[in-house]
Symmetry: C2
Subunit: 228 residues, 2 copies
């Protein structure tokens, strides 16, 4: 640490920093959001995003992963920072800004467990999420919007699909995330122009249909399209 | 305000919250970044992004606009939140997390002025930015990367162009932001598929060339492409 004479101004700043996690998955063709149930006033009985205050010397990414693991049992997830929410009255306990994190994960086989200070932890279908504590309705809505945009210019759904998949299987995942059907011809044309997937050069039988071409993601890690 | 019994835990959290502004423009065909010069140890003489601590009851957006105006004279800018930087040792004065904001603006006619606590304020060509104070090299690099991505899927450059422009004029702005030449045919093909611009249905003379088709942005406000 360098010696210095920088005053932290204003000395009286009274702000706390928290992280909130928006964790999505697709179960039975529906987008779901991971929520915990509060036990304390004023939010007793209400559901909230898994979140909490960071430790003074902890990085934001580390805090998000620690808190997610402690409050839900979900670990080893690639968390991406989403947006920082700072409405002055977003938390009745005082001024708390919340750095929101995001992930879309494959949830099959995960065991959820929470801490005694929460009543429950559960995947909620996004179509039926109840009113959330704090400003978490806004945070969750923002996360869904970002997720929908990511469908267009990133390979965000890669973790939800096997290594090789048909365009129909890919479309089913896109439709689950968007919560609406997509036109098959239009979807195929658009998705193939994005450069996110490539043909495997083989076909597979899927049910009683004709053999379908198999595809894979160009990269099985976060990737942006590059069109210029 | 509701009555409540939520403890702010850990009570000992000692974290301050700041904002940092990454303000870009294009001057003489080159991308520039707005910087202030520090006067205090340990960064005396070094340049930094215009930034500072938020007030306890001030929203993040308000703080970013206030601090930008106070430190540079630049006001009435649409600031977009970029990312929050939280490395535990990014500020030698203590734990400070910084919410970074971003804008690409039309700077012609703007008068820069700073406060007595800074030595200078200036537009720096991005190709020649010196080593910056704090972690601002990382923040500026991240902002440039985001700006380059925004060229692909948003109308981020709209403020740098007149209401009607030729594809050559648009390409010149894209090349200035990217800092590299683009293939003319490829650029035209890609940009027209994005849906961000539309033909005006008229032509204009540009220098000694043939009349060129005029285009306009579909919207003169932030817009994302929608491809699904």
């Amino acid at each position: 640490m360098l010696t210095h004479d920088i005053p932290i101004h204003p000395a009286a700043q009274q702000v706390k920093v928290a992280v909130d996690n928006c964790i999505f998955t697709v179960v039975e063709g529906q987008l779901h959001l991971l929520l915990i149930q509060m036990t304390r006033v004023p939010y007793r009985g209400m559901w909230a995003l898994p979140g909490g205050l960071i430790e003074t010397h902890e990085s934001l990414d580390t805090a998000a992963a620690r808190i997610l693991s402690e409050e839900t049992g979900v670990a080893d997830v690639y968390l991406e920072q989403l947006y920082t929410f700072g409405h002055p009255r977003r938390d009745p306990a005082g001024r708390v800004i919340a750095v929101a994190y995001f992930a879309l994960i494959h949830a099959a086989g995960l065991t959820l467990r929470t801490q005694p200070k929460y009543a429950d932890v559960r995947w909620w279908p996004c179509a039926h999420v109840p009113q959330l504590a704090y400003d978490h309705d806004d945070v969750a809505a923002y996360a869904r919007q970002r997720l929908e945009r990511k469908l267009v210019y990133t390979n965000v759904v890669w973790s939800l699909l096997p290594r090789q998949f048909t365009l129909s299987e890919l479309q089913t995942v896109y439709e689950a995330v968007l919560g609406r059907p997509l036109d098959k011809r239009n979807f195929r044309k658009k998705i193939l122009t994005l450069g996110l997937i490539e043909s495997v050069g083989a076909t597979a039988m899927r049910g009683a249909h004709r053999p379908a071409m198999l595809y894979r993601f160009t990269r099985r890690e976060p990737q942006h399209i590059a069109m210029l």
